[in-house]
Symmetry: C2
Amino acid sequence: MRPKLTLKQIARELDVSISTVSKALKDSPEIGEDTKQKIKAFAKLYNYKPNNIALSLKNRKTKTIGIIIPEIVHYFFTTVISGVEQVANEKGYNVIVCLSNNSFDREVLNLDLLANGSTDGFILSLAKETMQKEDYHHLTEVINQGMPVVLFDRVVDEVHCDKVIIDDIIGAKKAVEHLIETGCKKIGILSTVDYVSVGKLRTRGYIEALEENDFPVDEDLILKIEDMENSEKEIGEFLKTRDVDGLFAVNEQFAVSAIGALRRQGRNVPEDVSVVGFTDGELSKNFIPSLTTVSQHGTRMGAEAAHLLIDKLERKPDEVESYKTVIVETSLVRRESTKN
Amino acid sequence: MRPKLTLKQIARELDVSISTVSKALKDSPEIGEDTKQKIKAFAKLYNYKPNNIALSLKNRKTKTIGIIIPEIVHYFFTTVISGVEQVANEKGYNVIVCLSNNSFDREVLNLDLLANGSTDGFILSLAKETMQKEDYHHLTEVINQGMPVVLFDRVVDEVHCDKVIIDDIIGAKKAVEHLIETGCKKIGILSTVDYVSVGKLRTRGYIEALEENDFPVDEDLILKIEDMENSEKEIGEFLKTRDVDGLFAVNEQFAVSAIGALRRQGRNVPEDVSVVGFTDGELSKNFIPSLTTVSQHGTRMGAEAAHLLIDKLERKPDEVESYKTVIVETSLVRRESTKN
DNA sequence: TTTCAACACGCAAACGTTTTCGGACGTTGA
DNA sequence: TCAACGTCCGAAAACGTTTGCGTGTTGAAA
């Protein structure tokens, strides 16, 4: 076992000073050609690599960005991470991932931890609990300390920072309009309770689409699900008494649950009922019938977020502060769960 | 914007020395009660938190563990991350995630980067390309420098370190035996090329199960897929000319592709053909019919890996070196894609 | 009054870098 | 012969901590 090589050891070995070694390795003109060669050769031979921690301390930046998400076992978030990782890597940054598990406390904990030198900035999507409590002091505090933060997906007006979102309303409208275009007359929605902002917004899009097309808005066709655990049962009950021919689900899960329930009730998709989901994940692609869905392009969102953050990080200190909100367009992916 | 508070600033503000502040905050008996109170109050008021980077440098450990996986948009890996994260957090460690994208070069790059001070140890699953090249010098080097490494899932004998695996052979046997028990007579397998170790092992398990039950092993019923992109088509072709009544797929993807292809050919699952998958992901749970599958318990694997790693990290230096391989048991989850 | 322990605190080194500054030495030109 | 200059290198500070040790002050015991 041979521990890591340091400048000091090279210096001692070659009988020069530490600063000489440092300069030589950086190809400084201050150092004579032959000394440089000698030092470089030695460093290469023993595979010297500078210690990142020491560099971070000196430079007061770590070249790593923290990403905090509510849960990782979730296709959308993994695509976002993937997007972040990609551009971060291109720009020489590392990515450190933390999970809030939708808990406010864990979100605060992780943020605090990473804010103390471990990262240069954050990309995060708020925990459900945080949005319920409407407590964002941990974020504003971090921002106040000069740390750039980019919020994505689950964002909130109260926090002033860059944001990356999709237009949930427009996305939902696309879905519902597609149902209308393909001949559905009575369209229901499977949504979440309102404090989940995406649920609220997508419900609004659903309503707007109906209104703009002179469809009646029937509260009885709107299901707002709170308990994710029992969503399947709840959806089944709901559908049993609703004579819809079109269904917009605000996520994949709800969509497949609905299809299952419908099938059990002897109703076929898409012949009897067309179904559109939201989020283009593994399920949508592989389900039978495959799901027509609104794709959020998580990878692109992640990439955008990373760009925003890195721009802030590498901005000259005298540039004026300004916060952007980039909206990543959604797109409707037509598959088998709707009539074409 | 108020930048982070340091010991030095507190010291200046309160007109004491840096060391006094440090000791006071650590409740050292060296410091007088009133001074302590004064310092603590001040620190609390301005929310002082020690700088992690400085601590890392001083202690020569970072309290973070690196996890390098081939891809993140993959249910199994996310569950593993989740497991690692959980126990890491309990023990006060952070997790930094890197993606190799199945590329050897990226694996080396990430490892090198993180090895230079950013992490105390690694948990990783080898990139496909790495296993093809059979080049593991980057790992042995890191291990030689005294960094603990835990390999999981895609492991390899050549690297000496702790490992967490499932018994692919036994898992596959469970699957095939279940097919046999439920009355299948002619059982095929959808596998991968042999250099993907899991494919190879699961194929072996398939063969062993057949032999032990006095079933003939028919090479013609074994499909080894190389090109994941076109797996769906390949599976369709394969099934068209095989009159199987049982099918073991080495992953979820293959299983659902098979079911789709069978259905298109007018064959029902599980009535005409029973299908068992491997990996208990979103797909398996939600597909219709839901998939009988061999669960790998990714979360548990991640947790085990984290424990192994942290044990090594916190081991007294004089303890003897020893490498464990823990085998996480798989379990068969019976669902609708097989007859009961 | 002297001596000494106990107490309270500061100094300085260390972790591994980078970088500014200055010093030693040799060469050049007048 | 000597100043001026160039070349090559080292000392030291800095980033933010922790910690062993030294030191000054106090009060009490002798």
